[in-house]
């Protein structure tokens, strides 16, 4: 971005919040998203006309706002959501990206996918049913994927007479479970009715006892500035820029997206895995040299010394060095319907900008995601199963624990025959 843009233009101060929504079938998740879009005036007339027409055709009593989020034909025919869909809306304060993921048990995979890039998770419960098995599963996945901010949305308050007592019971129950999850640092519970719009965008007139924020207000104001790691300097090299032109004859720039920390010209750096040290000559961009760069910006770095560096290497600093190992411990979620993970199986492992081969050395345990109990007598992972494994890689990985850095602590496993992405991994 140009730095000389006049600052009186409001939209230049908008930031970006990515959130995911999790709820069981019939918890009203699609209605909630539809309500957020509609009440925040992010819907268009032609969309609303289509939704009104379809509602009428189906004989729905209200204009069915859930239809705003309807995706593919198969879903419309079966009335279910089959995959992660992304929705967008904006207010003058923030742009929002919603990863809309289905809540059925067989779709853990989709929730993990949606949660992997989210800052915040909305976990929906039906006020009549309270915290159920699936609620715990959603909270567990949010925690596993290191989502720090959670909204517990107690929906359908209209069906429990907007009862404060019922709301408090549910919140207490959820807190008892969530106290075992330590990545969630910020939890806010909001009583809502997505169908009638209570406390979604507009404050409810039916729940005077609730003094907290509406959902949209919270989404607009929750502080997410510290979600990126600005401490440990990590720059995975993505592409080497060599112009081969007269003007830039000796130019050799390392292009990538900062995965952690801050880099400035003159900083001493260590290139991994070689361990060579040098200094940053410049941080280049199309607009000219920059004074600094930090996560999650993309940039190009030039170095004082000519060192052999290629895609997959990582530029770091002497302080807080990353780990370097060929044996890693990780939690994984298995994604494949057609194959299973078992000890000694081999895969491609993609981590930052590097791809290596990996073999499963050990399956430690699987987790029953409803009870959080360990399963140690079954070593095979099937679709949607989560657990801990040990991997040995063909070359050392330069990594951090996922807890410390999402970008340098995550990987995917790829089946070498089908090329499918078969697992998501979080390094311990």
């Amino acid at each position: 971005m140009h730095t000389d843009i006049p600052i009186d233009e409001g939209y230049l101060h908008m930031d970006l919040l990515r959130f995911t929504t999790a709820g069981s079938v019939d918890d009203g998740k699609s209605t909630l998203i539809g309500r957020l879009l509609y009440d925040s005036k992010n819907t268009f007339e032609d969309q609303m006309e289509a939704v009104e027409a379809t509602s009428k055709k189906r004989g729905d009593e209200h204009v069915n706002l859930a239809l705003l989020t309807d995706g593919l034909r198969a879903e419309r025919e079966q009335g279910i959501t089959i995959d992660v869909a992304y929705r967008y809306f904006a207010t003058p304060k923030r742009k929002f990206i919603i990863a809309d993921t289905p809540g059925h048990i067989q779709y853990t995979r989709n929730m993990v996918t949606g949660a992997s890039t989210a800052n915040l998770a909305i976990i929906l419960v039906d006020a009549r049913l309270g915290v159920i098995e699936q609620t715990c599963r959603h909270a567990f996945i949010a925690d596993l994927l290191r989502i720090r901010h959670v909204i517990l949305a107690v929906n359908k308050m209209d069906l429990v007479d907007y009862s404060e007592k019922r709301f408090n019971e549910i919140v207490d129950e959820f807190k008892r479970f969530a106290s075992r999850l330590d990545n969630i640092v910020d939890m806010v519970a909001i009583p809502i009715s997505a169908l009638h719009g209570d406390n979604v965008v507009d404050k409810s007139k039916n729940m005077d006892w609730y003094e907290g924020p509406t959902m949209l207000y919270h989404l607009e104001t929750v502080y997410i500035g510290s979600d990126h790691n600005h401490v440990d300097a990590r720059f995975p090299v993505q592409w080497v820029i060599r112009p081969h032109s007269d003007e830039y004859h000796d130019f050799r720039g390392y292009a990538g997206r900062v995965a952690g920390g801050v880099f400035r010209p003159g900083d001493e750096v260590v290139v991994q895995p070689s361990g060579f040290t040098t200094k940053i000559k410049a941080i280049e961009s199309y607009e000219g040299p920059q004074e600094s760069t930090f996560a999650p910006l993309s940039c190009t770095i030039t170095l004082e010394d000519e060192i052999d560096i290629s895609r997959g290497d990582m530029i770091t600093k002497p302080n807080n060095p990353p780990k370097k190992d060929q044996e890693i411990e990780a939690m994984i979620c298995w994604f494949s319907e057609s194959t299973q993970l078992s000890p000694n199986a081999k895969y491609y492992l993609r981590h930052t900008t590097k791809e290596v081969k990996a073999v499963v050395k050990d399956v430690r345990y699987k987790v029953n995601i409803n009870t959080l109990h360990k399963i140690e007598d079954d070593k095979t992972f099937r679709l949607n199963e989560i657990g801990r494994i040990t991997l040995r890689t063909s070359a050392p990985l330069i990594y951090d624990s996922y807890r410390r850095n999402r970008a340098t602590g995550s990987f995917i496993l790829i089946d070498s025959l089908t090329n499918e992405t078969v697992a998501a991994g979080m390094i311990l």
Partner: protein, 306 residues
């Protein structure tokens, strides 16, 4: 600490830019022969601009590919040639007319004929002839409901088809571009952008646009709810309402037979942004090709459309 807080804040456009540049570089790194689909529309212009930034000071490591229906606005073609020469990029043009001449496709007959659907064959042929293994497109998920589930790296089988039920999950920053021989990918770096983001970005980056996007006078014909520019390929039929010197602009730019104009006096970026912010119809509401049926986009995508 407060100082630290503010200094590392990045606005939404900078985040979207960084993400798109990451995807562009990832495409260059993971594929042998990528190409960037360039139509002269604002999304592909933003894409080319981002590509220039991603690889600066080197030239783009891939060509621009334009699928020319032969029914383009002259303004678009002029703009294209100027922009390509500024970028010092390589331009490859695939002509729908060639596909028609070779008998690969049959032209629709009658006054309402459109070459929009034929583009798919020309595109797939161009991909095969040039052995492109990844095509970068300017598609955005907010455009249409079938696109809401599209991936950044969208896998296509050896017939160029998209299977919404068999897509690779995408997590974090990790994109799996591995493929079998004959398969290819469509890559969409602007997936997370909205129409508003694109306009704000064009403004903040000062990117020049074809004049069609700004208010001007034009003779139009009203057809199936859209307002089409009268030209050799769009001739008014008996009973159709004609309007001379209507004050209009285009929200999207494509083939003349299916790109509808909107009434607008927005002659500069600020007014356009205001207009987009207060628009009451979706952007594709002006596209006649999406009006053919409710699932028109989904059907075309499965066949290998952009």
């Amino acid at each position: 600490m407060d100082e630290e807080r503010t200094s590392y804040q990045v606005n939404h456009l900078a985040q979207l830019e960084s993400e798109a540049i990451y995807i562009l570089r990832e495409t260059a790194a993971q594929f042998e022969r990528p190409a960037l689909l360039f139509s002269g529309g604002k999304d592909s212009i933003v894409m080319a601009h981002l590509a220039r930034k991603a690889f600066h000071p080197a030239r783009l490591p891939f060509p621009l590919l334009h699928v020319d229906t032969g029914h383009n606005f002259q303004e678009t073609l002029d703009y294209r040639d100027q922009y390509v020469s500024d970028l010092r990029a390589e331009l490859v043009v695939a002509y729908v007319q060639d596909s028609i001449d070779k008998g690969r496709v049959q032209e629709e007959k009658g006054p309402f004929a459109s070459r929009n659907k034929l583009q798919t064959v020309t595109l797939l042929d161009a991909i095969a002839d040039n052995q492109y293994d990844a095509c970068l497109g300017g598609g955005r998920r907010d455009e249409e409901k079938a696109r809401a589930k599209e991936r950044f790296f969208s896998h296509r089988d050896d017939f160029g088809q998209w299977d919404p039920k068999n897509q690779r999950p995408e997590l974090w920053n990790l994109f799996n571009g591995r493929k079998h021989h004959g398969e290819h990918f469509r890559v969409f770096p602007l997936s997370n952008w909205t129409e508003m983001d694109v306009w704000q970005y064009i403004k903040s980056e000062n990117i020049p646009l074809p004049s069609l996007y700004f208010s001007h006078q034009r003779d139009v014909v009203h057809r199936s709810g859209a307002m089409l520019a009268i030209s050799e390929v769009v001739t008014p039929q008996p009973g159709e309402r004609i309007e001379t010197s209507a004050v209009v602009r285009f929200r999207t730019i494509g083939d003349m037979t299916c790109t509808g104009a909107v009434y607008s006096e927005a002659a500069d970026m600020d007014t356009i942004i205001y207009e987009v912010a207060t628009a009451r119809q979706t952007e594709r509401g002006t596209r006649a090709d999406d009006k053919r049926s409710e699932t028109a986009m989904e059907d075309r995508k499965k066949e290998g459309y952009f």
